[in-house]
C-alpha cells in the first residue's frame, strides 16, 4: 500500500488555496467582507455556462465560470429543478477537473516491451489505431457460420461509455457494431 505522500502545504499549493489565504490576510480577517470580495474577484467579468454534473446519476445543474481561458469558479445552477443550486462535495470541486495538474494534455504511446510513454501527435495515433483495428478485424472476420451471415469479429473489444454524452455513445454503438464488434460492454454491469 502506498501512503498519501502530500503534506498540507503541498495541497494548498496544488489547490491554489494559498492565494486565497493571502487575500483573506490582506483584507484583515473580516470574514464576511473577505467572502464577498473573493467572490467578486473570482467571477467578475467571467462567462457563465450551464452544465450537468459528470459524477452520479442525479444530474445536478452546475454553472461554470470561465475567464482568461481557465475555469475560475463553479457553483450549483439555481435554475435546475433537481438541485436548485445545491451540490455535494464532488459537484462542488468540478473546477479541478480542469485545473488538476494530473490532466492528460497530449496523446501518449507505449511501444511493446517499453517501460515509458512517448509523446506522439494525434494524426499518427489515430492512423496507427485505425491500422491495428483493420488488421485485427480482417484476420478474424467471420462472414458466415453454418450458412448464416454473421459478419462479426471476436478479436476486438470495446468497453466503457457511461461517462460519455449520449451522442458519443451513439457513435461508439454505431461504429463498433458497424465493424462487427461483439465484445461490446460498458459500466452498467460493473
Amino acid at each position: 500500500m502506498v501512503e498519501m505522500n502530500l503534506n498540507r502545504r503541498q495541497f494548498l499549493k496544488l489547490s491554489g488555496a494559498t492565494a486565497a489565504t493571502l487575500a483573506i490576510v490582506e483584507l484583515g480577517f473580516n470574514e464576511q467582507k473577505a467572502y464577498a470580495k473573493s467572490k467578486e474577484f473570482k467571477i467578475a467579468k467571467a462567462t457563465v455556462t450551464p452544465t450537468i454534473c459528470c459524477f452520479c446519476g442525479v444530474g445536478c445543474g452546475i454553472l461554470v465560470h470561465t475567464k482568461d481561458n481557465t475555469v475560475v469558479y463553479t457553483e450549483g445552477d439555481p435554475d435546475n429543478p433537481i438541485n436548485e443550486g445545491k451540490l455535494c462535495s464532488k459537484g462542488t470541486t468540478l473546477r479541478q477537473l480542469y485545473t488538476s495538474e494530473k490532466r492528460m494534455t497530449k496523446p501518449l504511446y507505449r511501444a511493446p516491451g517499453s517501460d515509458k510513454w512517448e509523446e506522439k501527435d494525434w494524426e499518427w495515433m489515430l492512423d496507427t489505431i485505425a491500422k491495428r483495428t483493420k488488421e485485427s478485424r480482417d484476420k478474424s472476420f467471420i462472414v458466415s457460420e453454418n450458412g448464416v451471415t454473421v459478419n462479426r469479429t471476436e478479436k476486438i473489444a470495446s468497453l466503457g461509455g457511461a461517462a460519455l454524452d449520449n451522442e458519443e455513445t451513439y457513435l461508439v454503438s454505431k461504429l463498433m457494431r458497424g465493424l462487427g464488434v461483439v465484445y461490446l460492454e460498458h459500466q452498467a454491469r460493473i
Binding site: 502506498v2 498519501m4 495541497f11 496544488l14 452544465t51 450537468i52 459524477f55 452520479c56 442525479v58 444530474g59 461554470v64 481561458n69 435554475d79 429543478p81 433537481i82 451540490l87 455535494c88 462535495s89 479541478q96 477537473l97 480542469y98 492528460m104 496523446p107 501518449l108 504511446y109 507505449r110 510513454w117 489505431i129 485505425a130 491500422k131 491495428r132 485485427s136 472476420f141 462472414v143 457460420e145 459478419n151 462479426r152 471476436e154 478479436k155 476486438i156 473489444a157 470495446s158 468497453l159 466503457g160 457511461a162 461517462a163 460519455l164 454524452d165 449520449n166 451522442e167 455513445t169 451513439y170 457513435l171 461508439v172 454503438s173 458497424g178 465484445y183 460492454e185 454491469r189 460493473i190
Partner: protein, 789 residues
C-alpha cells in the same frame, strides 16, 4: 427509474435497500427530506448503519446477499394480512392468470432443470392459454393454479423465524419494516423502492429487483406519484449508455441483438417474427428495427436486402459480457480493446486477473482524462515487468464534460444538455471527434476494398461532416429520426414505420428533436407544470413522460384511485387522457375500448408480471446463498443460484468458509467516484478522503486484536490487500442460523495512481455473475482480516 428525483417528495414511504443515497446520491436526499417534511417515512435496510440509515425512521440490518429472504417475508406478510391493493392486483397484474401444468417447485428447484447444463427449460413454466391464444384467468384469484395462489404458496415458506435466522435481521425490525411499507397498499398512499448496486451486484441481483416489482404491484405502487421502482444510477450517463446499446446483447433502445445461435434470426423476417409479441407496445418492434437499420445503412438499406439486416454482426452462442470478455482476454483470444473512460484494473471484479489479462492484448486504446491504473497497467508501479508485456498502448487525452457539448440522461431518464464552457485542456479532444475521425480513417482504409469483410463496414452510413470535427447536431437529429418521404424530423416514435420510409437511431429517444432548432434536451424552462414534473425542463424519454405506467394511477374507468395520488385521468368530454404528466399510454384510448385498461403497456397482456416465466432461474424469486457464503441455505438444499455460470480454475478461485469466515462487501464514499480516477486526481477530494480503509465492527476488532487506524490485511481466495482499520459501531455482528457472523465493508475507489493511492478492493472480489445479467457479485464474498504487523 419509473419515477424521477423531484417526485420522491410525494412518497409516503421510501424503502431504501441496497443503496446509500445520502452519501452516494447526496442531492437526491433533498427530495427524500422533503418527503419526510410532508409526513413520509424512510426505511433503510443495509448491512451497515450508513448516513442514509442515520436519517431514516426505521433501520433494519441485513446480511449481504439475503434480500430475497427479507423481501419474501414481506410478500408473505402483505398477502396474509391482506395488505394489498386488490383491485389493482386483479386488473393490472397477472395474478389471476392460470399457470399450466408444467410448473412445479420442489426443494429450491423449479420444474425443467437440467443439472448438467445448469439451465432450465422455461417452457415448463408457461401460462395456460385458451383456444384464442389469450391467457386463461380466474379473477376471483381462488383457483389454486392462479399466479396469485402459487405466489402465496411459494412465499408461505418465508416465515418470520426462518427469514430472521437467514438475514440476521431481528424479528421486530422485520415486522416494523413490513408493517410500515405495506401501509402504502391503502388507496391514497404510495411507497417507493430505491435501490442501487447493493441490490444488483449479486448472483441473484435480477431476482432481487423482481422481488421489488412483486411487492410494488401487490401494493399498487407502480405508476403513482411517489411510487415506483427507482434504480439510482451511479454514473452521470450510465442510463444513456445503456439506452444507446453499449451492452453486447442490445442494440439501441433495448432491441435484442440478432444471434447466430437463434435459427430464426438468420433473416430479418424471422428475427422480427420471433422477437415481436402479438400485443403490447413491443408489437411495434418492426418499425423500430427497420428505422434503426435505415439510420445505420441509409441508401444501402433496401427492402430487397432486408434493410441491411445482414450487415449487423450476429454474436455466436457464447456470452460476451464483462466477465466473459476478460476471460477471453485472459485466454489470449482477443487482439485489441478500446476503453472509453473506464478503469477495470480498479473497477473490475477479481481485478488482479483483469490486469493480467490486459497483458495478453496486442493493442489497447485508452481514451481518458487521466493516466489511469488501467492505461498504465504495464508499468513497474503497477507491479508489472514492462519488458515482459508486449501490449502496444495508445492513451488519448479526452475532453472534460464542460469542454464539449452534448446531452446526458440521468436516472430519471431526463436528457439534459451540457454546453461547452471552455476549449479542451491542452490537446485533449471530445470523444465524439475521436470516434468520428477514427471512423473516417477506417472508411479511408477500406475504400475500394471489394472483399466480403469490407462490405458491411463500407455500407455503414457515416455523414457527420468530413473534417476531424463531428457535427453533433447531425448526430442528434439522426438519433431522433427523419421522415424520408419529406426529409423532415419525426415528431416521435409513434410516426415510425417498418417500410423503410423512416429512420431513428434510437427509437426510445425519438421525439426529443421534433423540428429544426428544437432540441428539447436544451429546454430550460423550470416552471412547475403541475405535480413537480417540470415538463418544460429538458426531455424525458419516452415522449417526455415523467412517471412510467402512469395509467395505473387511475382505476379501470380512468378515474384516479385517489385525489392525493392523481397524475393522469380520462377526460370523457375531451375524449383523451389528461393530467399533470404526459400519459404513458395511448392518449386517446378510452378506458372502455379494447386494451383501455392495459396499464402496463409494454407487456404483451398489458399487465405487470408477478410471475415472470422469462427469468433464467425461475418465475418467482427464491433465496439462494451467495457464491461464497458462511452458512448453508435454510430454504432448500440448493446452495447457489442454480442458473449461474461458474467459472472454474485459476480465473476465479473460490474461498471456503473455513479459511475465509467473514463476509465482505464494497461500497462508495461521498468524496470519491467509482474507480477514483476522476476524484483521486483532484486535490480537494483527495485531501478529504485520502486513505483506503476497511470498516469493521468493535466486536470483530476485539476478537482480532485490531485497533482503530491499525494497518490490517484483508485476504480472499483471489488476493490480499492492506488498508487501515476503521473500527465503528456501524457494523454489528449478525446472528445467522444460530451462529455469530461478522461482516466488513470497504470502499472500492483506490488504486496506485492519483494524488492519493491505496490498495484496490476489487483484488478480493470474485468473477461470478448474476444468472440473467452477469453483473458480478461484488457485494457478498468471503474474506479474513488480520493485523499487518
Amino acid at each position: 427509474m419509473t419515477n424521477h428525483w423531484n417526485d420522491l417528495q410525494h412518497t409516503d414511504c421510501a424503502l431504501i435497500m441496497g443503496a446509500n443515497p445520502a452519501e452516494n446520491h447526496p442531492i437526491s436526499f433533498r427530495w427524500l427530506t422533503k418527503a419526510k417534511e410532508n409526513g413520509g417515512k424512510i426505511i433503510s435496510v443495509d448491512p451497515r448503519y450508513t448516513r442514509t440509515s442515520a436519517v431514516s425512521d426505521i433501520y433494519a440490518p441485513l446480511r449481504s446477499g439475503t434480500d430475497i429472504a427479507f423481501l419474501g417475508g414481506m410478500i408473505k406478510y402483505a398477502l396474509e394480512n391482506n395488505l394489498i391493493h386488490k383491485e389493482y392486483v386483479v386488473n393490472y397484474t397477472n395474478a389471476p392468470f392460470i399457470v399450466a401444468d408444467g410448473y412445479d417447485f420442489k426443494d429450491g428447484l423449479f420444474s425443467g432443470y437440467d443439472q448438467a447444463k445448469r439451465t432450465y427449460d422455461k417452457t415448463k413454466w408457461a401460462l395456460a392459454a385458451g383456444p384464442d391464444g389469450k391467457p386463461v384467468t380466474d379473477p376471483t384469484l381462488e383457483n389454486p393454479r392462479t399466479v396469485f395462489q402459487l405466489l402465496k404458496k411459494h412465499y408461505s415458506r418465508y416465515d418470520l423465524d426462518t427469514v430472521s435466522s437467514v438475514t440476521g435481521t431481528p424479528k421486530e425490525d422485520l415486522l416494523k419494516v413490513y408493517k410500515t411499507f405495506c401501509e402504502t397498499s391503502k388507496v391514497g398512499k404510495a411507497g417507493t423502492i430505491l435501490y442501487a448496486m447493493g441490490t444488483t451486484q449479486h448472483t441473484v441481483g435480477s431476482q432481487n429487483v423482481r422481488a421489488y416489482a412483486i411487492i410494488q404491484m401487490l401494493l399498487g405502487n407502480i405508476g403513482l406519484p411517489g411510487g415506483g421502482i427507482n434504480a439510482m444510477r451511479g454514473e452521470s450517463n450510465v442510463q444513456g449508455s445503456t439506452d444507446f446499446g453499449l451492452l453486447w446483447d442490445n442494440l439501441t433502445g433495448y432491441l435484442a441483438i440478432p444471434k447466430a445461435s437463434v435459427p430464426e434470426h438468420a433473416t430479418l423476417d424471422g428475427y422480427l417474427k420471433k422477437e415481436t409479441p402479438p400485443s403490447g407496445y413491443w408489437s411495434n418492434r418492426p418499425k423500430f428495427v427497420v428505422s434503426l437499420l435505415k439510420s445505420w445503412y441509409a441508401q444501402n438499406a433496401t427492402a430487397e436486402n432486408e434493410f441491411g439486416y445482414q450487415y449487423l454482426p450476429k454474436p455466436g452462442s457464447k456470452n460476451y459480457s464483462h466477465i466473459f470478455l476478460f476471460k477471453a482476454m485472459y485466454n489470449k483470444e482477443l487482439d485489441g480493446a478500446f476503453l472509453w473512460g473506464t478503469n477495470p484494473v480498479v473497477g473490475g471484479p477479481n481485478a488482479g486477473k483483469e490486469k493480467e489479462a490486459l497483458g495478453n492484448l496486442k493493442w489497447l486504446v485508452a481514451v481518458d482524462l487521466w493516466e489511469t491504473e488501467t492505461a498504465a497497467f504495464w508499468k513497474k508501479e503497477a507491479g508489472s515487468d514492462p519488458s515482459k508485456i508486449n501490449t502496444e498502448v495508445f492513451l488519448l487525452p479526452a475532453s472534460a464534460s464542460f469542454e464539449k457539448e452534448g446531452s446526458i440522461s440521468n436516472s430519471s431518464r431526463w436528457m439534459q444538455y451540457r454546453w461547452k464552457a471552455i476549449d479542451s485542456k491542452g490537446e485533449a479532444r471530445p470523444d465524439l471527434d475521436i470516434i468520428h475521425e477514427l471512423a473516417l480513417k477506417l472508411k479511408k482504409l477500406y475504400a475500394g476494398d471489394t472483399s466480403a469483410q469490407a462490405s458491411p463496414f463500407l455500407a455503414l452510413d457515416w455523414n457527420f461532416g468530413n473534417g476531424p470535427e463531428c457535427d453533433i447536431d447531425l448526430v442528434a437529429k439522426e438519433i431522433n429520426g427523419y421522415d424520408l418521404t419529406t426529409g423532415k424530423l419525426l415528431p416521435g416514435f409513434g410516426a415510425l414505420k417498418a417500410d423503410g420510409t423512416t429512420t431513428s437511431g434510437n427509437w426510445i429517444y425519438s421525439g426529443f428533436y421534433p423540428e429544426e432548432g428544437k432540441n428539447k434536451s436544451k429546454n430550460r424552462d423550470n416552471k412547475d407544470t403541475g405535480g413537480h414534473h417540470y415538463l418544460y425542463w429538458s426531455f424525458a424519454w419516452p415522449m417526455n413522460r415523467r412517471v412510467l405506467y402512469n395509467r395505473a394511477a387511475a382505476d379501470l374507468n380512468g378515474n384516479p384511485w385517489s385525489k392525493e395520488k392523481a397524475i393522469i385521468w380520462w377526460d370523457a368530454i375531451q375524449n383523451k387522457w389528461v393530467g399533470n404528466d404526459v400519459p404513458d399510454f395511448n392518449a386517446t384510448l378510452a378506458p372502455t375500448a379494447p386494451g383501455g385498461t392495459g396499464a402496463i403497456m409494454m407487456n404483451k397482456d398489458g399487465v405487470g408480471l408477478l410471475y415472470a416465466p422469462t427469468m433464467n432461474e425461475g418465475p418467482f424469486p427464491e433465496h439462494y446463498e451467495p457464491f461464497e457464503s458462511p452458512v448453508p441455505n435454510a430454504f432448500s438444499s440448493v446452495e447457489l443460484n442454480p442458473a449461474v455460470v461458474i467459472h472454474e480454475g485459476d480465473f476465479n478461485k473460490k474461498g471456503s468458509k473455513g479459511t475465509y469466515p467473514i463476509i465482505a462487501t464494497t461500497y462508495r464514499v461521498s468524496e470519491h467516484w467509482q474507480s477514483g480516477s476522476m476524484t483521486r486526481n483532484q486535490e480537494w477530494l483527495s485531501e478529504i478522503a485520502g486513505y483506503m480503509f476497511v470498516e469493521i465492527s468493535e466486536e470483530l476488532a476485539k476478537e482480532k486484536g485490531i485497533k482503530n487506524k491499525d494497518k490490517i490485511i484483508v485476504s480472499s481466495a483471489r488476493g490480499e490487500i492492506t488498508a487501515y482499520a476503521m473500527v465503528t459501531k456501524r457494523y454489528k455482528p449478525f446472528k445467522v442460523r444460530g451462529k455469530v457472523v461478522h461482516q466488513v465493508g470497504m470502499p472500492w475507489h483506490f488504486g496506485y495512481k492519483g494524488y492519493v493511492t491505496g490498495d484496490t478492493a476489487n483484488r478480493l472480489t470474485p468473477h461470478i455473475g448474476d444468472a440473467n445479467t452477469q453483473i458480478p457479485e461484488y457485494k457478498a464474498f468471503l474474506c479474513d482480516v488480520r493485523r499487518a504487523d
